[in-house]
């Protein structure tokens, strides 16, 4: 069989065996509904409450500040719509950045069409927001600042503690989309003054379709999903017990391995960051050189287009991703690459390699070797490259 190298861990991750085992127990004999009073249901209830403790401990929150959801997108939507609806008396202004995930951006755009005001902060060429621009953007009626912890495409990590301080100082609430950061880098909601935080299980080798929203005690927020009394009446719906327990197992494993894993994975990342520019000319690193996720590598290769690059890599058994418009069927390349100032034609040729603890040094070297060939092949087909010669 051909070598398989999975380098799209920012999209989704392989589920840990231990996580599958945990879930199977709850799919199998322990299928009770946690809202039921018989023994069988109470076992399920205990399981999700212990999961709540575990998840809370990852970000130094309290268990009763964790609300389980159906994923990162739901958490982002809930945080923003819920806080804005519950605080209408205070104001209608949101501050966010131009490089947020669509779960935040499209939510803000929807609110903007419905009577809310949104400021989209710029980022510099490394993808960092400016703290002074943020501070200037805050107004009397600013209710919420929502800035992602780490970017899913270029990996840049924002100065979260500083943003939290500014928010606190000005009496605005601070939500951070930590879907890419949770379990990958240390997070302390107390120290960083984070009021709300989104996470999603499938980015840390847990199941798809489960996530959580941390809501600091006392924050006013409307429900996004009304109904039953689950999740302290804040998020209705029969609890996804197996998913939640799998999420907890994955979080526990992520916590236990955090330090070791960070240094291992960022070592592999730095191998890519060093070797690719050495091996291939006309490449550009996207994202901050050091303030970036341990597992994120993002380069633009001039003169070629990302989708073809991905497909040729796929033929070599390498799974990766691109900010090219063509991969998504969109007209423009990724809004993130545009926001850091890449010209369209360079943005089209971007490649994201996202690593995990399962990535090996051989994977890295194999990928670089194949990448050299594929880029060369595509350039020889490219009118932009040929003209240049």
């Amino acid at each position: 069989m051909m070598k398989q190298v999975y380098l799209d861990n920012a999209a989704t991750t392989m589920v840990h065996k231990e996580v599958i085992e945990t879930m199977d127990a709850y799919y199998g004999d322990l299928y009770g509904n946690p809202s039921s009073i018989y023994d069988f249901g109470q076992t399920a209830k205990k399981a999700i409450n212990s999961a709540r403790e575990t998840i809370a401990s990852v970000i130094n929150a309290k268990a009763d500040e964790i609300y389980f959801t159906g994923g990162g997108s739901e958490s982002d939507n809930w945080a923003i719509k819920g806080v804005m609806a519950a605080n209408r008396k205070k104001g209608n202004h949101i501050i966010t950045s131009k490089i947020e995930h669509h779960a935040v951006l499209h939510t803000c755009e929807y609110l903007a069409k419905n009577g809310y005001e949104v400021t989209y902060l710029n980022v510099d060429s490394d993808g960092l927001i400016s703290l002074s621009e943020l501070e200037e953007a805050i107004r009397e009626n600013t209710v919420l600042i929502t800035i992602m912890f780490a970017n899913n495409e270029i990996g840049t990590i924002q100065p979260i503690k500083e943003i939290g301080d500014i928010a606190k100082r000005h009496g605005a609430l601070f939500h951070t989309d930590a879907v890419q950061a949770f379990g990958h880098v240390p997070i302390d909601v107390k120290e960083m003054n984070i009021d709300l935080l989104s996470s999603s299980a499938h980015k840390i080798h847990g199941p798809k379709g489960v996530g959580m929203l941390y809501i600091r005690k006392g924050i006013k927020i409307d429900n996004l999903i009304h109904g039953g009394a689950q999740e302290s009446k804040k998020r209705a719906g029969t609890e996804n017990v197996p998913g939640i327990c799998g999420y907890s197992k994955a979080a526990e494993m992520a916590m236990d391995s955090m330090n070791e894993r960070m240094s291992y994975v960022s070592g592999l990342r730095d191998r890519f960051l060093k070797k690719i520019p050495e091996a291939i000319e006309n490449v550009r690193l996207n994202g901050h050189p050091t303030k970036r996720l341990p597992g994120n590598v993002n380069f633009s290769f001039e003169f070629i287009e990302g989708e073809s690059l991905l497909l040729y890599l796929d033929m070599e058994g390498i799974s990766a991703s691109s900010g090219s418009a063509c991969t998504s069927g969109a007209l423009d390349p990724s809004h993130v690459l545009m926001a850091i100032g890449l010209p369209h034609e360079i943005a089209h040729g971007s490649l994201r390699l996202s690593l995990s603890e399962f990535t090996t040094e051989e994977d890295v070297d194999y990928t670089i070797e194949k990448l050299i060939g594929v880029v060369h092949r595509l350039r020889l087909m490219s009118p932009l490259y040929i003209r240049r010669k």
Partner: protein
């Protein structure tokens, strides 16, 4: 996503390259939109396309469409080549995803552009190329279908 035929042409694109002394050269698309196609034609005195090459900057279906279009016009009379439609390219490829249909349009336009260039240079009149406007934007995205 892509048919086997598309993938086959993408994997092994036919007629990649340049023709140094081409009789007609056409280029369409732009880097901003993510695809550029350039077609080179060698045409003999009986107006038969004896050789054709392409260079493409673009996605998988852009490369496959270029490859297929060049195959479809190679050895053909220019009157036949000018009649090449994007639908014919799609058909020959066994279909394209809706969001990628513009790639086949681009291929059709690149062929027309090269023939137009040939007509300009040679002073010939090619029936069917009258409505061709070299600088038209050929993107026809249908956002609903993305």
């Amino acid at each position: 996503m892509y048919t086997e035929k598309v993938m086959e042409h993408f994997r092994n694109p036919r007629n990649v390259g340049e023709i140094e002394d081409a009789d007609g050269i056409g280029q369409v698309g732009n880097a901003k939109c993510g695809d550029i196609m350039k077609i080179f034609l060698k045409i003999d005195d009986k107006d038969i396309i004896t050789d054709v090459k392409f260079l493409t900057f673009g996605c998988g279906s852009a490369i496959a469409s270029s490859s297929m279009a060049t195959e479809l016009i190679k050895g053909k009379h220019i009157d036949e080549a000018v009649a090449l439609s994007n639908k014919a390219v799609i058909e020959a490829l066994g279909g394209l995803p809706k969001v990628k249909v513009h790639c086949s349009v681009l291929a059709e336009q690149a062929v027309k552009a090269a023939l137009y260039d040939y007509a300009q240079k040679s002073g010939k009149v090619i029936a069917g190329i009258e409505d061709y406007k070299p600088d038209e934007d050929v993107h026809d995205y249908d956002d609903e279908q993305l």
